[in-house]
Amino acid sequence: MIAFHSPQTLEDASALLAAEPSARPLSGGTDLLVQMRSGRVEPAAIVDLKQIPSMRGIRAHDGGFAIGAATPCTALLDDAALCAAWPGVVEAANLIGSVQVRNRATMAGNLCNASPAADSVPALIAADARALVVGPAGEREVPIADIPAAPGKTNLAQGEFVAEIRLPAKSASGGDAYLRSIPRTEMDIAVVGAGVSLVLDSSGTCTAARVALGAVAPTALLVEEAGAALVGTGLDDAALDRMADAVRAACNPINDKRGTVEYRTAMAAILAKRATRIAQSRAGANS
């Protein structure tokens, strides 16, 4: 028998998760239920987080946004301010699965499922987003890249869960983008994903850049050298080539059914370049 809990507060949820080692939090369930059905996980308790009011919806926070962890991906599309500020993040979250899946699936779930190929994660890392983690010891704010530990594993302690995804205030002349490579056009998992967020000054010179990659290492990567290669440049082809070199150097993928080392490495560089151009045009359009 599986115990099913619907706590009304963050504290209750944390206590329930802490009480049972195999307990799993549930929001959209698009990963958890599939894993349970296939026998990959057999939790003794499920803690449904959707009934906690703060877990749902998008709020202004510190000039940016706080997105409740149980907010489904398609709900992000309805928030005009969020879409205008962080289009790359919203797009990434809305590449996951199908429309039906995204009506349930959440970014926080995508993050805590800890797949290296999670679409929303590189976009969130590029955007310098943070996760509000709630647990028996209280709250802490953690950079997105520090949540996944390895494929299928997080750095969250027993009883901890992600309550919010926090996106910073967007620079007036900033832009972001996320692209992924899949063999089909949808209903697929990233062979490689690349998220880019950058800020331009009035002359078009890049003053800040973050480049993040998915599916090329055990966890999504922030490639600081790649961002550094763009900063101080006008995003000319040579700068993008240097950025692409840094991306390739950071790739440490595996050969598997979804792609080879060579293909993943080559695509990471190509997608990072293409995403940079989209982010650039968005930043330019904003400035």
């Binding site: 089909r184 056009t185 060579e262 293909y263 080559a266």
Partner: protein, 756 residues
């Protein structure tokens, strides 16, 4: 929705009425394989081998049987041993020993997912728990997955008793090569060495799955009196009856099979996996038992289409006449013999005129699931190689690819290299029609390319039964024994309506069980509208003759003075003013003119005609990523006559889409342990809607004289050309000839960047 073409010689044939089974299907009322419930039914589950190749030393089910709720457990030892026995399925023979071993392994597990034991319990979850309590003592053996490795002399041997059938020099050495066949006419090597243009190469493609949405499932009930019943979806209840009775070694009359609605088959449901096991469980448990596969089971343990490796060489003289072909084909049979070996040469020889032929075909067993039919079995694979080469030769000669094909295409009156005489085939008409399509003139953008390719499929006839009976009000019941996998209910109703002169809506097409209608072979081979349709029309003709006889009696005139026209009998005797009697009046008065009006007809026609198709495909190739996207696609096909054009077009589109998936992304991927790495629709990548443009269709009608309305059969040939049509389009876009499938982004990327 019914439209009528005033120029048509037919009233209903060629129109598009709503399908009789449509409402049930869109409202969820239709009962598919996993839906059927029998009173008192319990739930079965199957334990499957985690090893691709292992000897089964022993199986202990005692702990499973001790679990409360578990009612029965069976292993391969519960099935009769049937070495050398086979059963005729009309389309071919089925080896019962192999079928039995595929349902439940006997001595060895031959692939990952091979069924080794089964239980039945009062709930599905208890049955699953019980599987964990079964102990199997395996001796793991070396395995072989790769087709060419399997054919090597030093390969791990799957079946110690297997010897190559058809070998010129029989050997007593164990082998994995199950079958070989060679055909030589003229001196192909010499002809090719002297040819003006030659294309050659090694083409290779892995197994692919049919990908039907509905998993295999059945309910079986085997009573203490020996009478058994099976409810299942399949492509033929008589096939299920024959093999279930055969594997259990019981009289055919002890098994009654009721067909349920089928959620896709594409050839994959012309065999069985579960039914004898469910019967055994039912007998032991004394209750009806349901067995249903999961999606993973379907991928791991039901038949994919065989992979193929072929070395091929084709050449032409400077005028564009083909001079010869050499081909050495190796088809993948999976765990048991039967890789469709003879079908490769059949397809190869039935497209073009070759003065010289030197071909060999073999099939090899390997530690993968036993292959099954998939829409024009064996044809897409070899046609990929042929039509790629044909395109390359045309390019070398500077000839238009359609003109080159027209110059060499088989025509009525020709005899193919396999000795088949070409009747009223429509290959030339398809090529002419393709040549006239606007699609060919549409401009192409950067990194885009256009490819064309042709395809052939034999189409079959075969044993078919149909009954037609009039109800008291003149409505009509048409019963056949063939599951409707492509709109055949609508086609049967249209043909009966046309023949009898009654409205389409008054005809009820029913699919009977094995006790309600005469024997019929499977819905397969693109045969149903041709052969079963002919039986329906003959049954209509039989009751028309009966009604004419009755009218002659009523009118007291000679039978020759009664004519059937527009759904009524008319008296043509001179000086006679008898008013015509409609079919409704005849039905109303049946009991005063001789009793019920009904007829059943069983036939076995073998004068079916092959289908040909020509596909035109535009692709765009992303030169940086290797992604191929289909921009435009046209299917041209000779169908003989389209009875219900919607379902003819649906077959043409569906076949093309399955071929597109095969070409671009579908493949069985095995890991180093010999286990299937992608047993689900996430990583076994069939196309999704957004991957495809609208598939345009052009129906060519060159009627088949052997069918009352000219039907040739449409369901299979549309999957044949897409692999080469896309390969040719990719070559046009990139300059690279890709000879391995699938043409996935990484493979195209490697080709563009100078890889192989």
């Amino acid at each position: 929705m019914t439209e009528h073409n005033p120029l048509s010689q037919f009233r209903v044939v060629g129109t598009r009425p709503v399908r009789p089974d449509g409402i049930d299907k869109v409202t969820g009322k239709a009962i598919y394989g996993p839906d059927h419930v029998a009173p008192g039914m319990i739930h079965g589950a199957i334990l499957r081998s985690p090893h691709p190749h292992a000897r089964i030393r022993s199986i202990d089910t005692s702990k499973a049987l001790a679990l409360p709720g578990v009612k029965a457990a069976v292993t391969g030892q519960d099935l009769p041993h049937l070495p050398g026995k086979s059963v005729s399925l009309g389309e071919g023979e089925a080896d019962l020993a192999n079928l039995s071993c595929n349902c439940l392994a006997r001595d060895k597990a031959l692939y990952e997912g091979h069924a080794v034991a089964a239980v039945a319990a009062t709930s599905a979850s208890i049955a699953r728990e019980a599987l964990k309590l079964i102990t199997v003592d395996y001796e793991v053996l070396p395995h072989v997955i790769d087709l060419e490795d399997a054919a090597r002399d030093d390969a791990p041997i799957l079946h110690p008793d297997l010897r190559t059938q058809g070998a010129e020099e029989p050997s007593d050495k164990p082998t994995n090569i199950a079958f070989t066949f060679a055909l030589k006419q003229g001196d192909a090597a010499k002809a090719l060495d002297g040819a003006a243009a030659v294309a050659s190469g090694r083409f290779a493609m892995p197994p692919v799955h049919q990908g039907y949405i509905e998993p295999h499932a059945c309910v079986a009930s085997w009573n203490a009196d020996g009478q058994g019943q099976v409810w299942c979806s399949s492509q033929g209840p008589f096939m299920v009856r024959a093999v279930t009775a055969g594997v259990l070694d019981i009289p055919v009359s002890d098994v009654r099979v009721t067909p349920l609605e089928i959620g896709g088959g594409f050839g994959g449901k012309t065999t069985i996996y579960l039914e004898p096991v469910a019967m055994l469980l039912s007998r032991k448990a004394g209750r009806p038992v349901r067995l249903a596969m999961s999606r993973e089971d379907v991928f791991r343990a039901s038949g994919p289409a065989p992979g193929l490796v072929v070395d091929i060489r084709i050449g032409a003289d400077a005028e564009g006449n083909l001079v010869g072909i050499e081909a050495d084909m190796l088809y993948d049979a999976g765990a048991f013999p039967g890789g469709g070996t003879m079908l490769g040469p059949l397809v190869l020889s039935n497209m073009y005129r070759y003065p010289a032929v030197d071909i060999r075909t073999r099939d090899a067993v390997s530690n993968k699931p036993s292959v099954a039919a998939y829409r024009a079995p064996a044809a897409p694979q070899i046609t990929f190689a042929i039509e790629s080469c044909i395109d390359d030769i045309a390019a070398q000669l500077g000839m238009d690819p359609i003109a080159f094909r027209l110059k060499n295409a088989l025509r009525p009156g020709d005899t193919s290299a396999m000795g088949m005489e070409c009747g009223e085939i429509g290959f030339v008409e398809c090529l002419d029609s393709a040549n006239a399509q606007d699609h060919l003139k549409a401009p192409l953008g950067d990194n885009e390319g256009r490819g064309i390719a042709a395809g052939y499929w034999i189409n079959i006839g075969g044993a078919s039964s149909a009954s037609v009976s009039l109800a008291e009000d003149g409505s009509v019941a048409v019963v056949t024994g063939n599951p409707d996998i492509g709109g055949s209910r609508a086609s049967m109703a249209i043909m009966a309506s046309e023949r009898l002169g009654v409205p389409y809506e008054k005809v009820r097409p029913i699919i009977g069980d094995t006790a309600t209608i005469g024997y019929s072979v499977v819905t397969g081979g693109s045969r149903t509208t041709f052969a079963v349709g002919r039986a329906v029309v003959q049954a209509c003709d039989t009751i028309i003759a009966d009604m004419k006889k009755r009218a002659a009696n009523v009118w007291q005139v000679a039978e020759d003075d009664v004519e059937w026209r527009n759904g009524a009998v008319h008296c043509t005797a001179k000086g006679n003013d008898n008013a015509p009697m409609t079919i409704t009046e005849m039905a109303e008065n049946a009991n005063t003119t001789g009793g019920p009006i009904a007829a059943e007809v069983s036939i076995n026609p073998h004068d079916s005609l092959p289908a040909y198709g020509v596909h035109i495909c535009d692709v765009a190739v992303d030169p940086e990523t290797g992604h191929v996207s289909i921009k435009r696609y046209t299917v041209v096909q000779d169908v003989g006559r389209a009875i219900h054009p919607d379902y003819v077009e649906g077959q043409m589109q569906g076949g093309a889409v399955q071929g597109i998936g095969w070409a671009l992304n579908e493949a069985y991927i095995y890991n180093s342990k010999g286990c299937l790495d992608n047993p689900g629709f996430l990583d076994y990548r069939m196309p999704v809607a957004s991957d495809l443009p609208m598939i345009d269709t052009v129906i060519v009608e060159k009627p088949n004289p052997a069918h009352p309305y000219g039907v040739k059969g449409v369901g299979e040939v549309p999957i044949v050309p897409p692999l080469a049509a896309i390969g040719n389009a990719v070559k046009a876009a990139t300059g690279k000839r890709i000879r391995e499938l699938p043409m996935s982004p990484d493979r195209v990327f490697a080709a563009i960047n100078g890889g192989k």
